[in-house]
Amino acid sequence: MARFGMVVDTVRCVGCMDCVVACKTENEVPEGLCRDWIVTEATGAFPDTRLEFRSERCNHCDHPPCVYCCPTGASHVEEYGHLVQITKELCIGCKACLASCPYDARYIHPEGYADKCTFCVHRMKQGLPPACVAVCPTNCMHFGDLDDPHSEVSRLLASRRQHALQPEAGTGPRIFFLT
């Protein structure tokens, strides 16, 4: 089975937050919450300032601490795409997963369960890319199977400089940022 991941080209990204808005409408994320967000990192002093724009979300880690710590099995690795998902009916809202996530990717939905990015698995099953990828006006996001050496994401990772977030956490994040 595929192991889905995402590649975000920070050179193209302008940090417009369209991905955030598209995720919110697609997934009907309640007001005040979001499943993806934009980080602008500035280094250096004016005028030699460098900026990196990153569209961030759940990393669907290879070694997901949120799954390991979940007392009920609500957080789990789904076979489809090897994605980290939440069965909300099993979630008791204990927030252990929120505390364990090094990326701060989760929130408690007003209805009481932990919630986060699903990689728009409902769209994928219709053959559509995640809403954030589909909407991006700069075309900076790519989605696909990291285990398939011929996929667009694998080819991009083979050809460009990149980094993932907090690799030192040992979670095996699956979102990569091209620089």
Partner: protein, 731 residues
């Protein structure tokens, strides 16, 4: 809410690195429903085009179980190519905005008190029609002015032209792109237009002056900018602020504000002096080149250095970079360019630099736009206005080609050349769009009638006698978009969902008003569908077809000289005018010269302003989705200056301008992204209209601080980056 507050505003300002996290800024929570579309859901898709800005991207709105769900780009649309910008995606919020106008209102106290009586449409339009008849009989129909922005105003314009007024203006001219279009017209004989005829996607080098593509989210331009960046095109940016675009640049020139013309002259000096310009192109198409070359000879990079603060070698290297990639070396004309009052001449310098690079008509430069032929509806001719427009008496601004908003304001204030007694305002918040709001308010006091049509209770609506609530674009038909673009097409806007209250589409309002004015001869159709179908059938299509597809595309004509377009320049000389005899004859510089602009006094900063990608003007701040993405603005201040002033990130200040005008309180954003002699605000915040409760007094209004402006002597545009502010810490 724990997760949210951790994510909400995280800023690490220590050391060299700073992180700003945006997203999920609001804290209110509403009840949630099931995400996504599931088997049992009824989903309906309706193609239309967007109205969150004037770009008019093709969109597909999704309705799930009779409730608006989401909006995506129409993949067939050449403007959006299936990808809307954040505003377009957030268009859902325009429908659900809880602060929308819901019913017609009439004021019950003095103007500006925002005290209203709810009335019926019949009462409201009856009152407006009565007042309009009174104005016509006492002062003539020319005494009515219409301020209108966007395609939604077309039917109201029709009604008021039938009424007999020629005074129809939009801030998009004298407060925005008019000076650019005049500068290009004087040089190439044609305007840049909207959408700009820029072939960014094929440019190998793109030069931006102050234009902040990516923050300024005109969809096609932002998409093509990313495409150019992604394909390794050289980006050159001159901007006092390190914009998003500047962060992608090979050459960033942190120019001193107000000195762009000096930089342009120096760039041209290098291109001519080092013979790097397109000599064949200039020889074939240029007029007055030798006189031009002689004029710019003194403007060396060394001359420009103390003016612009840009080192001569950087000017030379960036000019050579432009030349290396010509003709696919576009110098972007910008859009909002009314900065210092000499803007048409600066834009002419941009046009001339493009001419030297041979970009006009060439791939990677400026294309020749195409459009489809759609006959106008066969209306009777409009009555002839006996008196010409009131905005530019005696052609004081000889090169103005369109009505000047601030000229109509002058006429209202002075009664010269004749009294203007009524204003109708459609979809433009004049108090945030025109400079010097006090002057606008003084003009309003002179009027017998002020009518505002809008979707939200904007500041200008607060000053109206009658407020007419319009349905948002997702709830109405509008006129056809017969686009003038690289790829020709016709697009339809159609209702997706019903208006939530007593809001009406503008075509209905315009038609009802016409009927009440006895102008039924101008409305042979009863429903706008008849109008649209008639026009579409005239072009060989039908409303039924457009309702299904959203848009139809025309045959692709050649759009570049390389593809067979014949070069042609409708200037007096029939050529590209390096030296302008018509400017000389009118007493202006035949070749642009640098004119210094006043500098901020010691301790003060020049106030600069611009756009954020998730907001349009002052129109979107109450949109729940977009308001959440950016709920208030901050004042950008150079980090070293902030340290010197002892202002920390997030500290509250008020901005006080040279005339003592103070802003709302606003947070300081110390940043390594701006020069020390200026501060920057995103436009559209600091609302003072009480109806905009969620955004009332959130952030600071740049417009409120623009009490001074410099008029462009060529075309009457208002340069607005001429105001200076100090920062007053707020306890």
């Amino acid at each position: 809410m724990q997760a949210l507050s951790r994510r909400r505003f995280l800023q690490v300002s220590a050391g060299a690195a700073s992180l700003a996290v945006a997203g999920g800024a609001a804290t209110r929570v509403r009840s949630a429903r099931e995400p996504g579309a599931r088997g049992a859901d009824r989903v309906r898709k309706v193609p239309t085009f967007c109205d969150l800005c004037f770009w008019k991207c093709g969109a597909i709105a999704y309705v799930k179980n009779d409730r608006l769900w989401k909006i995506e780009g129409n993949p067939e649309d050449p403007l959006s190519r299936g990808r809307l910008c954040p505003r377009g995606t957030g268009g859902v919020g325009a429908h659900f905005d809880t602060q929308r106008l819901t019913a017609p209102l009439m004021r019950k106290q003095v103007r500006g008190a925002e005290q209203w009586v709810v009335v019926t449409w019949d009462e409201a339009l009856g009152h407006v029609a009565g007042k309009l008849q009174e104005i016509k009989s006492r002062y003539g129909p020319e005494a009515l002015a219409l301020f209108s922005h966007g395609i939604g105003g077309n039917f109201l314009k029709h009604t008021l032209k039938a009424y007999g007024t020629p005074n129809i203006a939009a801030p998009s001219y004298a407060q925005c792109r008019g000076s650019r279009d005049v500068g290009f017209m004087l040089t190439f004989g044609e305007e840049v237009g909207s959408p700009e005829r820029t072939d960014i996607r094929n440019a190998r080098c793109l030069t931006l002056l102050g234009s902040h593509l990516g923050e300024n989210m005109h969809n096609t331009q932002a998409q093509e900018f990313a495409e150019a960046v992604g394909s390794g095109a050289s980006i050159i940016v001159a901007d006092p602020r390190l914009s998003v675009a500047a962060s992608k640049a090979k050459y960033y020139l942190p120019i001193k504000p107000g000195t762009d013309t000096a930089l342009l002259l120096a760039w041209m000096n290098v291109l001519v002096g080092e013979k790097l310009y397109d000599r064949e192109y200039v020889a074939a198409h240029g007029f007055g080149f030798d006189a031009f070359a002689a004029e710019i000879a003194p403007y060396t990079p060394e001359w420009a250095y103390p003016i612009t603060t840009i080192p001569p070698e950087l000017i030379r290297e960036s000019a050579r970079e432009m030349a290396r990639h010509r003709p696919a070396s576009l110098v972007h004309p910008g859009r909002h360019v009314t900065w210092y009052g000499n803007d048409a001449q600066r834009s002419r310098a941009v046009a001339l630099l493009n001419a030297l690079l041979g970009t006009w008509g060439r791939k990677g430069g400026f294309y020749q736009p195409a459009s489809m032929n759609v006959p106008e509806y066969p209306y009777p001719p409009y009555p002839h206005a006996e008196r010409g427009r009131a905005d530019n008496p005696g052609k004081r601004y000889p090169f103005a080609e369109t009505a000047i908003t601030t000229g109509l304001r002058d006429a209202t204030l002075t009664g010269v050349p004749y009294p203007v007694k009524g204003w109708m305002v459609y979809a433009t918040n004049l108090l945030q769009a025109l400079p010097d709001e006090a002057e606008t308010i003084r003009a309003i006091q002179k009027l017998d009638l002020v009518v505002v049509l809008d979707v939200i209770p904007s500041e200008i609506a607060g000053w109206a006698d009658v407020v007419l609530p319009e349905a948002v674009y997702l709830e109405r038909y509008d006129d056809l978009n017969v686009e003038v673009f690289r790829e020709p097409f016709i697009a339809l806007r159609q209702p997706v969902v019903a208006a939530p209250a007593d809001q009406k589409p503008n075509w209905w309002i315009a038609r009802e008003l016409a009927l009440k004015l006895g102008l039924q001869a101008y409305y042979p159709w009863k429903h706008v569908e008849e109008y649209l179908d008639t026009r579409l059938k005239g072009a060989g299509f039908s409303l039924a077809e457009l309702k299904t597809k959203g848009l139809v595309r025309g045959k692709q004509p050649p759009v570049f000289y390389e593809e067979g377009v014949q070069p042609g320049f409708p200037t007096p000389s029939g050529k590209i005018e390096f030296y302008s005899l018509q400017l000389k004859a009118a007493g202006f510089d035949a070749v642009p010269r640098y004119q210094p602009t006043a500098e901020p006094p010691l301790g003060a900063f020049r106030l600069l302003y611009g756009r954020a990608p998730m907001h349009s003007f002052s129109r979107t701040q109450t949109n729940p989705l977009l308001g959440e993405m950016m709920s208030e603005n901050e004042v950008w201040l150079n980090a070293a200056v902030a340290r010197r002033l002892g202002l920390e990130s997030g500290a509250w200040v008020r901005l006080r301008n040279q005339d003592g005008k103070r802003s709302n309180r606003v947070r300081v954003r110390p940043t390594e992204r701006i020069r020390g002699d200026c501060v920057y605000l995103v436009h559209g915040f600091g609302h003072t209209a009480r109806g905009l409760q969620a955004r009332f007094k959130k952030g600071a209004s740049d417009a409120g601080l623009i009490t001074r402006y410099e008029r462009d002597p060529l075309m009457g545009g208002t340069g607005m980056s001429v105001n200076f502010v100090t920062l007053e810490p707020e306890a």
